[in-house]
Symmetry: C2
Subunit: 230 residues, 2 copies
DNA sequence: CGATGAATTGACCGATGTCAAGTGGCGTGG
DNA sequence: CCACGCCACTTGACATCGGTCAATTCATCG
């Protein structure tokens, strides 16, 4: 990826959008690059939160493991999206790990550098506030869903949420263009691989999806939508 | 409450802490006051988010009602604490209502005023980012608890969380100094009034708490702590 | 072509929610 | 000041979703 493509990418990111060219360039120049192979991790839960990332290639999942060993999948990240905002504050530790699903590259900023950028450029401060506020709304929605909706509804919702960001059109529907195991889905929706398997099979028999190991094609999003609101 | 007491209060709040006196005064001068009687609401879920509040008197609960009519109690607010940070961003609506539990007073800022203060004073921007980040961590913790812990564990955790902020010492233990119904606890922990009643009774039989309508005294916090981590 | 990780399927069970029918104390208003 | 009514809380019986465990099957990759 060329420098100008990277610059382009960060100018469209949630954190650096709306900046004039000089500021965007300044931000870009203060980053460095980092590659992580599939299965590796950009950051580890429990480590001091020191760096901010914008993914430029591959897919990352943010995973939290509870004291009891339960894993919670918080979010998927695709190129252009960021993770590790907390690093702009000092004294925090990573609440989760960022695992590379496939081979990944990312731009990295030290937390203090990001803090300086925020100090100098109000727009970045507001962008950060917006990112955090949206994340809050999202967590609240998931909390609410976990509390009030059935496993099938939550699974349908989760799959639908993946479509706009991770979907790509194929002949018989929309493919979720990312290696996605049933275990991932279980950790994402707060259930077990057994329930996911049963539900996915039921959907496949109904012609709503086609699920083959690590690949899901959604044939009929409308049917999923009607499951979420019965 | 006198002006200088109010100024003192906001200088200790999460959002306005760490400011020099001139800036704190500026912030204070741009606020106005508002009173809401017990049972009323400062803000309503679904309305445009236009104002930021710092409570100066009474107790507020933040409540979200789901499409299915389920109520979720997100947070209690006591004097000195803030709510409605989202109002600094334009175009959002309130994700929840802020209901006065008893008679309340609060300082209020228009969202745009807060946005201006953030623009001019980096410290307030960082304070806002910190508040949102902490709230995120908190939501994640609750999500995780909901997923992995039993009702009894969550209830114990919730009661323990209320102690430092809402507790006041009485002869036989620590009173949660706020009208707190079992329904509130149910909405806070994501369960039903029936389960709360059964568990509270069990605890009372074990001498851990004393629960009388809307009042709870915790006699043995250590016992609760051992419930949360079995 | 075998090994490894992913997915499937059935049997079982337990924690909690649901529903119904109470009890009891506090406060208001006559 | 008493009584009535409301609202918080209680208690039991019952239903059920979905988690757990164990045993397989399947598919992909080296």
């Amino acid at each position: 990826m060329t420098d100008s493509e990277l610059l382009q990418l960060i100018r469209q990111s949630q954190i650096f959008r709306g900046l004039d060219e000089a500021t965007a360039k300044e931000a870009f120049q203060r980053s460095h690059q980092r590659s992580i192979a599939a299965g590796g991790a950009f950051i580890h839960q429990g480590d001091p939160a020191l760096v901010f990332h914008i993914l430029t290639q591959g897919h990352v999942k943010l995973v939290q493991v509870t004291p009891g060993g339960h894993e919670i999948l918080t979010r998927f990240v695709k190129p252009g999206q960021e993770f590790g905002v907390i690093s702009v504050l000092s004294g925090f530790e990573n609440a989760m790990s960022a695992q590379a699903i496939d081979d990944c590259r990312a731009l990295v900023w030290a937390g203090e550098v990001m803090a300086q950028l925020i100090e100098r450029h109000t727009r970045i401060a507001f962008n950060a506030i917006r990112v955090l506020a949206l994340r809050n709304l999202n967590m609240q929605r998931r909390y609410q869903e976990l509390l009030t909706e059935s496993v099938e509804q939550r699974l349908a919702q989760a799959v639908l949420n993946l479509l706009p960001t991770m979907g790509s059109e194929v002949d018989n529907g929309t493919l979720i263009d990312m290696p996605l195991t049933e275990e991932d889905l279980a950790e994402l929706t707060g259930t077990t691989i057994y329930s996911v398997s049963r539900i996915l099979n039921k959907w496949e028999r109904a012609g709503i999806v086609v699920a083959r190991r690590k690949r899901i094609v959604v044939c009929c999003p409308q049917a999923l939508r009607s499951i979420t609101t019965p």
